[in-house]
Symmetry: C2
Subunit: 342 residues, 2 copies
Amino acid sequence: MADLSTLVQGIQTGDMRALARACRLIDERDPRAFELLKQIFTHDGPAYVIGVTGTPGAGKSTLVDGLIRLYREQGKRVAVLAIDPTSPYSGGAILGDRIRMQQHFTDEGVFIRSIATRGHLGGLSRSTGDVLHVLHAAKFDVVLLETVGVGQDELEVTRLADTTLVVMAPGMGDDIQAIKAGILEVADVFAVNKADRVGADATAQDLQQMLSLRRVPQGVSKMQGHTAVSTLQKGPEAEAGEWVPPILKTVAHRQEGLAELVDAFAKHREFLMTTEAGRGIREQRRVSEFQAILYQALIDEVDARFADQVREKLQEVVGGRVDPYSGAEALVRSAIGDENET
Amino acid sequence: MADLSTLVQGIQTGDMRALARACRLIDERDPRAFELLKQIFTHDGPAYVIGVTGTPGAGKSTLVDGLIRLYREQGKRVAVLAIDPTSPYSGGAILGDRIRMQQHFTDEGVFIRSIATRGHLGGLSRSTGDVLHVLHAAKFDVVLLETVGVGQDELEVTRLADTTLVVMAPGMGDDIQAIKAGILEVADVFAVNKADRVGADATAQDLQQMLSLRRVPQGVSKMQGHTAVSTLQKGPEAEAGEWVPPILKTVAHRQEGLAELVDAFAKHREFLMTTEAGRGIREQRRVSEFQAILYQALIDEVDARFADQVREKLQEVVGGRVDPYSGAEALVRSAIGDENET
């Protein structure tokens, strides 16, 4: 397909319109996207992917803005993916971000794109993963993966990042409680932003305390049940050479503390690349990614190839003539054949 | 399978141990769960499923507790599913709930179970959906589906409910902003809990205002882009006979306003059962459920039947000998065969 090879070439030379077009194909789940991704895949993507998440109002967007500046000053090419899985009605936040980031729109070294949820079943993290491969192929140096909220789905997305920054602000102690462990688990680096405000030290201390709770000795953690113990045993925390997330203070709108943040990112990258624990994390990510791609490809293929049968069965199920479990079983059988055949 | 038919019988007679065992099979994704679900499925499940979600600290659990009492006083059998997709480290909240709810543990008309995330790809809402069918088969009158947080994944779960209650509390205006439209969209009924505190009226007014913003005329919503418009056109909101979520004030720990809440649930149920818009919503839910069951069955079957091939391909992908897209494509081909064959 001549068209596709032009697109591949455009991506590889970092042409912004080619990038936007590739993102659109992925967003719309165009079948050509899969072929494109096969062709542009690079096993060791050169872009360093930094997830930025945290409580609403903590100043994530201003901080991302500051990081773009800093990396641009270092001559690095930067892509920003803003993940907004909320409904179309919530246009406000993202719109605000876009206006704020407009100053970068004329900069050819910066690519900005927002991604919304598509479909069910981890669709958000899957399409984000695909877009990341496009950005790797375009040889960006840094990708900032900014989540608008802190939902489970968005935390899932940060698992695609090499390093995840969690942004907090003073006086949001309740929020930390509310968000609980989900966000602690994804954090590789913490920023207490708006650190010129009252309570920054207290917030940093709260975080410190929650982090140390996470590393309870085995006997104590048993109180939280079996799963907690086994996770602790298997997780990188239990290994020698574990990564301890640093807690840094920033005032993003004055660019204060951002250089230190970037240093912390670099240290975490080194941890991932040079230690045994880091190697394990990277391998596990590849396994998860492959599973997600496989499952999505499977679903897409069945939807495309067995569309009529799926539609027919759906009508029977909705009409109450067959239960959904038996209906699904029959379709799976006609898609992948009977057990005895394999 | 003699064992399975005993379990089916146990569920249908509402035996608590049979229910717990069925939940466990579903939780562990035991292959027998699928067979069980086929056998117990009832097309028009008798249980009325009420989703309860809202900001942390709004008093959701106390309110659920109050609703259990109220329904029990009416002689109804009640099941509670507490959805907690956070990590094992977060044991606290759920543990607190359990202790608080212990008073109901000796009541044979109350079944309480917590559900955590399993695996990827919408696993939480899928296993919750399966458990709901067990509760239908056990002929509970009411199921309260309580989410611990307000993540995207948990909002997804509330889509399984017939009626979703969103709980807020005074002085959480920022939270409403933070949570934004996602939570507004799932709401069928609002409760401003802790209504004896200062600011309850203001919170109710804020909600009222956000709800009216949701119903902007088409010309205005265009500012939010194409998707917003098309959703507005297709959504039940645009139809005559639309449901307008009532905003009710409650003081859950004193049982105040709960009878009015239960009335609002009954009205929403009537809307679903008797109007054209309600029929559309119910049908769409059946379609979504069937798709989710089908996709999960497909993935499970490929994982089981092609385990060796998946493992082999995975090693090639992780080892960098094949890209994940080509690897997935090859597996899909060997599972479903070539396009020309169908």
